[in-house]
């Protein structure tokens, strides 16, 4: 797996990261689950939706590397975004580690460190702040090859769900950095 190929330079950098505020953040985010209890049985990986189509993605390895603080290549490669957040790993884990929570924490951490998420997710964040939904309403093609929007389907017009400045400021504060 790509994440194990880092040279000593990378490792040195990551060991420094280990004590940093951001890594404490990962531990904070995965509470009440405890990555320290992982005994590398790899049951999570045997159940994982993403592993089945992207064999390089292995939740048990991600947990192990995160415990060691060796996360740089996980973030650089962007492979954490392959997780479908299906929560299967959590169900299969005998140790209540919840690898999915570790992955979500790593995703959050990567954004906080200035890494870019997949382009579509960036758009979703922007749309949520500006429109209230992850995408604007689109027109869809029917089986009779006609285009239908909400209006043509006699569905009520979709209004922006919030107009209060406070809501928009909150969302900008939380998500603005993702797309600006």
């Amino acid at each position: 797996m790509v994440v194990l190929t880092g040279g000593s330079e990378v490792v040195a950098l990551e060991v420094r990261l280990l004590d940093s505020r951001v890594l404490r953040e990962v531990k904070e985010l995965v509470r009440p689950h405890s990555p320290q209890h992982c005994y590398q049985c790899a049951k999570c990986t045997s159940a994982c939706t993403a592993t089945k189509v992207i064999p390089d993605y292995k939740p048990h390895l991600i947990v192990a590397l995160t415990r060691l603080g060796l996360i740089k290549n996980l973030l650089d490669s962007g492979i954490i975004w392959a997780c479908t957040e299906c929560w299967k790993c959590s169900e299969y884990c005998p140790q209540d580690v919840a690898p999915v929570e570790v992955v979500i924490a790593l995703k959050n951490l990567s954004i906080a460190m200035g890494y870019k998420p997949p382009e579509d997710l960036k758009m979703m964040a922007k749309n949520v702040v500006e429109l209230g939904y992850i995408s604007p309403p689109i027109e869809v093609l029917s089986k009779e090859f006609e285009m239908y929007g909400r209006n043509a389907l006699a569905l009520p017009e979709l209004v922006k769900p919030y107009t209060h400045e406070g809501t928009i400021n909150n969302l900008k504060k939380l998500l603005g950095g993702v797309y600006e």
């Binding site: 992207i54 392959a82 954004i111 998420p117 569905l155 769900p161 919030y162 809501t167």
Partner: protein, 296 residues
Amino acid sequence: MSKFLLFLGCTIPTKQYSYEISVRNVLPKLGVELVDFAEAGCCGFPLKGLNRRAWVYMSARILSIASKKGLPILALCNGCDTSLRKIKDILKHDEALRKEIADLLSNEGIKLDVSAEVYHTLEILHDFVGVEKIKSMVRRSLKGIRIASYPGCHMIRPSDIPHPEDPAEPRKYDAVLNALGAEVGYYPDRGGCCGATMLPYSARHALLIAASKIKTFKEYGFDAVSTSCPYCMEMIDGKQDAARTEVGDESISIPVFYLTQLVGLAIGLEPKELGLNLNISPVEEVLEKLGVSLYE
């Protein structure tokens, strides 16, 4: 109690219109009153990887508005449903986060109160309306049609919070299909994931997940599939053609229906009242068996 706030989420009111159409036309016929919930918006679930706090805030906001209105929420989307339930649990156990979210909400004059009850479409059909009442209203039985129920993963996971189905014994979905006269059956990995969340990372790999699900439905001899999650629908119905092309397997073709579309068909509604002309998969195969034409 049979009055609910109709919480549409993001995907349904912006592209999965057939779910909204069928819910708006079917549920009132079963005695369920729907109240529009226009101030809700996105639950934040798709954004938790970007910022977990944003997710918690967005769901807490929706719950708080509903609590103030004093009405239970009907969540159509599995993601929305799980999101609201999970946020209740997260906030119960994290005082610091609760304080932070309460502060954010106070900026817009909302008091944090996540007590609003949350129900999913499946619970409305199974628990509130009930299979006996549904059975008594069937005018067009789905007899002889073998349907794979594919409720979607967040119907049962994460299992540490209450869900519409009992994660250990998810029987409600099949019970509703049986009430319509349809046959149900076993297939492996019924609680499996459709892959939708992988789309932004790699559409090609996400399609492989959808293709393998559809192949399983075919291998186990089903005539059709039913889901009650807009993301599953998007993958299994909307991207069925793309999945077939991706893996180059012509056998990947099966009609896919929302549960509310099937209930509507069985109680005698017409295809257009259920948005069936918007399904991408070959739903005509099943309609023909029922003697119903899509184009009249």
